[in-house]
Symmetry: C2
Subunit: 279 residues, 2 copies
């Protein structure tokens, strides 16, 4: 009995949060104030019906909203909104029992509609998500308006791919625009790695964090903080486990949470599972 793509996506959510050390984030050994490990477990379990909808061919926006609604049935707040934004199109791209390819994923995002964009906006009504201010001329389309922004979406005839095309500086949106290069690279890193999958995923997380400033850190703090985190991650590649553990504690203490890098890692874990990497 092979796990379905939706099951692998849910498992990726759990394996992501279980991977440790993932500096600054909730992991097997660390909680944040009010956001604990078990909130992620409940979020992943709750997201499953939405992920199954994506696998069954439901529209991407509808499947995403359903996944986020289910994820939100816990008291920790936003646990995996960004992960789901990547997982839903990748699960949709896995249909037919084959591991998703970048081409198949791009076909999914290219085919999104204005209705999918509306589903994405509705998803913001289920949970508070930390987002940056919208670009100039996009005030009416601020995602924080939730479904109130839908008339403006329809007026401008914007698909979900269009919306992602206008989210400058967001690595998850960049994945949508560019055909998920980071998720597929992380899957390669995990696939080539050795040892238990969560250990490989933690190393892949640090590697991604060393490459690009994390979006959530830039949003919650500023660009310089995000760049300093990137530099420190780069210094720590290949450092002792102790040094990485210490930095992980330090980031948690300073409320510096590279959550977007965790989203990308989760998507990479999913792709690795789909390629047959075992747990």
């Amino acid at each position: 009995m092979r796990r379905s793509a939706a099951a692998n996506a849910e498992l990726a959510l759990h394996l992501e949060v279980a991977s440790t050390p993932k500096p600054g984030n909730v992991d097997r050994h660390r909680d944040l104030d009010g956001l604990r490990f078990e909130h992620f477990l409940a979020g992943g379990v709750g997201a499953r019906p939405g992920l199954e909808a994506a696998e069954s061919g439901a529209p991407v926006g509808e499947a995403f909203e359903r996944a986020v609604a289910g994820m939100s049935e816990q008291t920790g707040g936003n646990t995996q909104f960004g992960c789901l934004l990547l997982l839903v199109p990748l699960v949709a791209a896995a249909r037919g029992g084959r591991p998703p390819t970048r081409e198949a994923a791009a076909r999914v995002t290219d085919a999104t509609t204005v209705d999918d964009a509306a589903g994405f906006y509705r998803a913001f009504e289920h949970v508070d998500v930390a987002v940056a201010d919208p670009p100039d001329g996009w005030d009416a389309l601020d995602v924080r308006h939730g479904s109130d922004a839908i008339p403006a979406l329809r007026e401008r005839d914007l698909t979900l791919a269009d919306v992602m095309g206008n989210s400058d500086g967001d690595l998850n949106a960049a994945e949508w625009r560019e055909g998920f290069p980071r998720a597929f690279r992380i899957a390669d890193v995990i696939q080539r790695g050795e040892g238990p999958l969560p250990d490989r995923a933690a190393r892949a997380f640090l590697d991604q964090l060393a490459r690009e400033p994390d979006t959530l850190v830039a949003t919650q703090h500023d660009r310089e903080t995000a760049e300093r985190v990137r530099e420190r991650a780069d210094e720590l590649r290949g450092a002792s486990e102790k040094a990485v553990e210490e930095w992980a504690d330090d980031l948690v203490a300073r409320d510096v949470n590279p959550g977007t890098t965790a989203d990308l890692t989760c998507a990479g874990i999913f792709l690795a599972l789909e390629r047959g990497v075992t747990v």
Copy 2:
């Protein structure tokens, strides 16, 4: 969007393994040799379709076999066979959106058939389970025969409830025979508890361990060891966290794994979630 009974059962599997300290078992902070935290995450995700079958009214034996088959899609071996043996009838008893009662659970077990017993035996073909030798006159019905025992089951016209009625000394079988008194008591303990659900579950685990010798410890070691573990758990009720943590490390080092107590705790977590205890 309320979580379904099947989703709550899967979440109970994850919360059980995340609860810590659970002396002697895999928990958020401890792995065993070759049996790691992530194997339980994959086991829980894989069990979901079988749990959903139980919720939809599939025969208990069929749902159980399906849950075990899905659980087994990971490389750690048996992770949650005993949990599922309790969860499947309890999920079946939750049908209709109400939390299961002891009466509803007893109706489910009372209604089991010879086909359900056959499904139970088939489940042993998916994974190696540590079990005691069968009672006198039951050699042909040793569960380790798997489906080869089914003709003997049919010849003697034994339902799954009959099979459980002949498993002396197994606390999970006793739950089946007695209408799940331990699972419901543990749910009460969790419901009355304070703090995060995994902390309450860890305390409920220790409390149950102090009450009755663990079946798996008796099977893998002997009755005296199981009784000594019970006595030590009783001494440690209300002891410092440090003392319990040290004992947890000690039991893991000595390969003393009270897995049946973990099964009962998992069933209690499920019932607590069904009653509306939040994560």
